[in-house]
Symmetry: C4
Subunit: 308 residues, 4 copies
């Protein structure tokens, strides 16, 4: 008995140590996956913008950019999906923390990984399209004007857009993103089909680009915007990337945080909170049956095996 | 026994009361989901039109609008699919009632929710693209002419279209919609794959936009058209939105009702009524086997476990 | 025993009679489904051409036509898939007969249904776009020239295309169609996922339009081309629809028959004939294992439960 | 017992002989499937380029080419997927060999089959678009200049691209391809859904075209580029196809080999090596549970039945 107790203490000690190693390992594991997810999404996304801008209409159009970011997000989810969840977006990570789906201690790991990933992707696209960019702008790297190339990497608002309208633009865009992400993962509703989550999320981002993108280029993601902006500041475009658009840079960093939480909350208030417990629901619908026909597809919801 | 009877009466009373509460709850639950579904579909749909119109060809083209409404419908189905069925269209709800798949008492809940959802979406897009719209039209909100912007929100007929041709246009468009929706949900035929219903319905709407949209903008949906039209009347375009196109506004309200029922009936008459009961069918096909080869894929239909 | 024999004879007689009724019913059932499938495919397909032609570039582009026919085919498969197989193409039905997957007696039912379906679809699109067509061409229905509108309904060759090159064009296009259809339905290879057959076939047709369409409009289908051509001859374009392109009309009727059989045969010779019986294959691969690594994904093919 | 031993020896001899026959058969079987896969992919891919080039903007645009190669790859995977794995790309086959998923002895079979397939596809497209090509360039087959047509078959670099930048372009493009292919087939992560592999790989190739294609036409595949280049050298464009772009031809042959291995290695280092064994992982996460919330979706990973 004494020996057993000792063993149990030793076991406990070993478990503690292992646990600590595992925490570090887990941080590394999640961090590497999140970095690579974000990197892949951003190489495809920024690549599509670079191609459209430097291609002068011959190598794609606005729809190509929507496809580049949409399918890029889908591939990013394939890269890190089951390891880190492939948020690739600080606003998503922040909302997940706020709603208890991710520990707050993991938040810095996610955000740092995402920033590293998007910074490296900006560097990759800069190297890949170096000749194309210099050929396009004649070697003059500008943030605004007819041959501006900073917009390949970070987002800038349309000239007509006021700063507070731009803030609203980013809040609404990110709210729509999180609202739909909540629905796509709600197993008590009509979620993305099993295995089809990456393409469903990708089509959602494509859709946002098609409908909510013209005001300021639908960053809806601090990690997507800040990393490449820092890269351009260093790589030759200079501090103007932070001054342009009345100091626009902080809007796609802050507004998506507000929007993400807003969107997720709207889904909760309008749909998730009202999901009945299956048994309660079933009993009542049986009482109800002769009085009122159930709306279409409700039958699917009533799984008989749950309440028997 | 006496006590038990009393208990049963009490039980019954409680059940009645619970039932009533549940009816109200259910109305709220379905109504909120239907409102949010319609809202999400319309924000994406109207957003894509606003972007194409105010973007002057730089931020998308006609195909972007088809994608905006198509994928918008898919996301709407994800939002409310298992709660309200996500009709998002009064013509769909009306047809469901007529064919006994939805109680008539629920119809006002659906239609009201849809109108609220599409009205709010129009308001959201107006706020989001306020600067863009004013920049585009110079502050002059018009229903027709070269810088018309009312068409961002509600549909208007092409100048060459007579009113009765427009009525036919909306009847045929909605008939094709319901005809295909019937097939996509017919479990005895080749329905949308399980979990893939949202994207299947979305592709159907994209397809209608690609092929039946140029006459009058494929409203094929009273809820999609009337809510935003009322919004524009209030927000600055004035009563002209109801007078334009020879008083076009009532066509996309009434014609889809006629079209929806027509389309669903055609599917019933051509396909659904002829589905054999599985057992009868199987016995006969066995008699038949040596005389006539079964057409492709019929084997799948004959599930041996059903009739043994 | 006597009574039983009598009963059995009666049973036999009843079965014969039922069988005959069932044959007629089955013809009607299959014919109606095939008619509606073809009708739906053609309304969407022809509608997309009408929209692009009469819309003068504002309501879609060449890609819209590819989407219209591609997704139109997908919807057609949903309409008739489990009833008639939804061939919607006489070249497909003919190939199915030749390879023993459809009784020859059913061939006239299929072809007639397809012609009726495509003829009615041409009529529907003519009614729907009547105002648009007259507005576009000023009421002058021509088969060639700058404002030609016959090409909305049937296909015509490019001016540079010789007749024998056009024949080759239709043979190759239909061969690629059937070759890929064979693969998509080959359960011993990598077929379309269960439930995803309609969209897989639709993407195949979209792909053919994107890559093999510019010579003569990728009819690759006698039923798609002949029905609407007859309609236009009657509806106002006159006998010129049969004379245009050096009497082009018979090419998309005959060449697809040749091409379909060729394509299906190529798949058989290159892939299907070489499928090993699962047990034989498995035993040999086990002998082989240490000598040669199996190519990627072969493991999936070796289902252990089959040969134990 | 003696007889049995003899039998066993005979059995062994027969098995040896059968095995040898089977090796040859297997080479033929895999070779034919790989040839047809590559052929189908290339007919659709090259066809889409031919159509866009000779169609002068009327029959598709750059996006059509992305769709042609993307969906062409998907169809190719359907053709040979379960037989040869449908690599259709020497860089994929080479990487598979290097990572032990394919025996080196099979490599020549794959590469030869792929070259034959792409050569034959170039011949098919040349026949099919013979009239269109001659009509477009007036019979003067050139490799560069305003009416160049060699680019229909093989890739050529943009005029601004230096040779070493082009090498980097092909390395990065192929690295992204293999990196994502590794993720799409990693069953311990978020792979392509079962049955959806062909379309997932197709969308990946479409994505690469949309984002990494404008520098040099995204060959990212020695088999895709060399076969058609040899064909054009023979068919009338002459040795200039090997001299153009400073002797560009060897870049899309060699660089993808480097890129493929690089990309696959990056996925291994960032993600695959860190997959925990399910049991170890589960025990530690249980110790951990109260200290740190698991990131989103990790629950799915912990399959309870594995470690009980």
């Amino acid at each position: 008995m004494h020996a057993m107790e000792q063993g149990s203490v030793q076991e406990h000690g070993r478990s503690r140590k292992l646990s600590k190693i595992w925490v570090i390992n887990e941080h590394v594991r999640v961090g590497l996956a999140e970095t690579l997810s974000t990197y892949v999404m951003m190489v495809f996304g920024l690549g599509s913008v670079a191609q459209v801008v430097t291609g002068r209409g011959v190598f794609g159009e606005y729809l190509s950019v929507n496809l580049g970011f949409g399918l890029g997000v889908a591939m990013g989810v394939h890269i890190g999906g089951r390891v880190s969840g492939a948020h690739m977006n600080a606003a998503v990570s922040f909302s997940m923390c706020l709603f208890g789906r991710l520990g707050w201690r993991m938040l810095p790991v996610y955000i740092l990984s995402q920033l590293i990933g998007s910074f490296l992707a900006a560097g990759t696209i800069y190297s890949l399209y170096y000749d194309a960019i210099y050929h396009y702008c004649g070697g003059n790297l500008t943030v605004s004007g007819p041959k501006a190339t900073a917009g390949i990497f970070a987002t800038y608002p349309a000239t007509y857009l006021s700063l507070h309208a731009g803030f609203l633009d980013q809040v609404i865009g990110t709210a729509m993103l999180l609202l739909c992400l909540m629905a796509l993962s709600d197993q008590r509703n009509q979620p993305a089909p099993s295995g089809g989550e990456p393409i469903a999320v990708g089509l959602l981002v494509l859709l946002i680009g098609v409908s909510l993108g013209s005001n300021s280029g639908y960053a809806i993601n601090p990690s997507r915007d800040l990393g490449p902006r820092i890269f351009t500041a260093i790589a030759g475009w200079g501090p103007e990337v932070f001054r342009a658009g009345n100091g626009w840079w902080w809007v796609p960093v802050l507004a998506p945080m507000v929007g993400g939480v807003t969107g997720a909350s709207i889904y909760k208030v309008f749909v998730e909170l009202h999901h009945p417990s299956p048994c309660e629901h079933r009993r009542e619908i049986e009482d109800e049956a002769e009085e009122e026909a159930a709306p279409l597809d409700m039958q699917k919801y009533l799984s008989p095996e749950v309440c028997v």
